[in-house]
Point group: C2
Chain length 217, copies 2
């Protein structure tokens, strides 16, 4: 892409990683923070890089052609108010945030916005004496048994009962999958949501033999 | 796993795929349906397989050690009521269903349960004149720029403006990713939910350099 002016709202690890990436490719970056004058550590970080200036949220947004949102997810709406919504008109805004908040039920990470239930939880509620394990819902039925992955790929499982998950892991092993336990039945929210992503990717591919996985460089 | 009795609730493509998989491994399978006597096509399918019987939902659940739920997702609660919740007590229940329902806003697939909003949508609402693209939220900041995948891996993007997504795709190409457009800004629901899965997998791995992808056999 041709060099342009990029504003990054948020100066944590994500904002810095993206600011450095844009700057290294010749873009003129302003990284926005609430109190730029008082942030010596950020100043020292920026001083090591070419093409990176520091400014208030509003300055970062106003000067930019492309704005990157990289605050904590629960702070982003406040940050864009401080930056001035009028400074975003017509611009490409890259939202890199996640609205993470502690899940009050588990203490683990949850989403502050919009994810409140799942089919897996509903099934467990309907069958309170059963040991429900969410499984097999993220691939095409043609791949459920003997999918032919070499090496094997993960099949995500979620449920509240450890013994039941061990049983299902054994079944998955027989069926040609590596079970990957992602937590309690509430994680069905993620596994069911993942299916809509799977559909979108299937539409993009025009084929349906894909399975979700995580990969490393 | 040692051969056991498996009940499959639902006789569509998913139920049949899993029933056949269990039967081929020596398990004694009953595939449950509402009206087994009147389903000639299902009878003909089962007649080709060893170890597969057909029965009412209740019979399939009652006789089983392990029960598989493989109805349409929006029908599963009704199906377990028909099967009799008392027949599931203490059993491992594999929930392979997805509560899919048309998204009234798009006509495309959505979730009938629990997924009603996202941070990405909130940002777009807060900045109605901006062209918001959800991006970079599903990987560690250390991987955002020059992740070092060979071949390249997808970075999911979602947004309402096609031109903005083209711009972001160009940035991703510069940064070492293949952009994969998964739809409008509402797909942020999936990309934000995916982060919780990413966290669960990171905890299981004890490492954080993983990125979501889809793989094929």
């Amino acid at each position: 892409m041709e060099p342009t002016r990029v504003g990054v709202i948020g100066s944590g690890a994500v904002g810095r990683a993206l600011a450095a990436g844009f700057a290294a490719r010749g873009h003129e970056v302003t990284i926005g923070t609430r109190e730029p004058e008082e942030n010596d550590e950020l100043q020292a970080w920026a001083a090591q890089l070419e093409n990176v200036a520091i400014g208030h949220f509003a300055a970062a947004a106003e000067a930019a052609e492309i704005v990157v949102l990289a605050t904590r997810g629960t702070a982003v709406e406040r940050a864009v108010q401080l930056a001035g919504p009028q400074h975003f008109t017509g611009k490409v805004v890259i939202d890199a945030t996640n609205p993470l908040a502690p899940d009050p039920a588990t203490g683990g990470p949850g989403l502050a916005v919009g994810h409140t239930d799942s089919g897996g939880e509903a099934v467990q509620r309907a069958l309170p004496d059963a040991r429900v394990v969410k499984c097999f819902n993220t691939v095409n039925n043609a791949l459920m048994v003997d999918p032919g992955f070499d090496p094997r790929r993960p099949m995500f499982i979620a449920g509240d009962d450890a013994g039941a998950k061990r049983t299902v892991a054994g079944i998955l092993d027989d069926f040609g999958w590596d079970a990957l336990d992602v937590g309690d039945i509430r994680q069905s929210r993620q596994l069911e949501s993942l299916v809509l992503l799977w559909v979108a990717v299937g539409r993009a591919r025009g084929a349906w033999d894909h399975a979700p996985a995580f990969v490393t460089p």
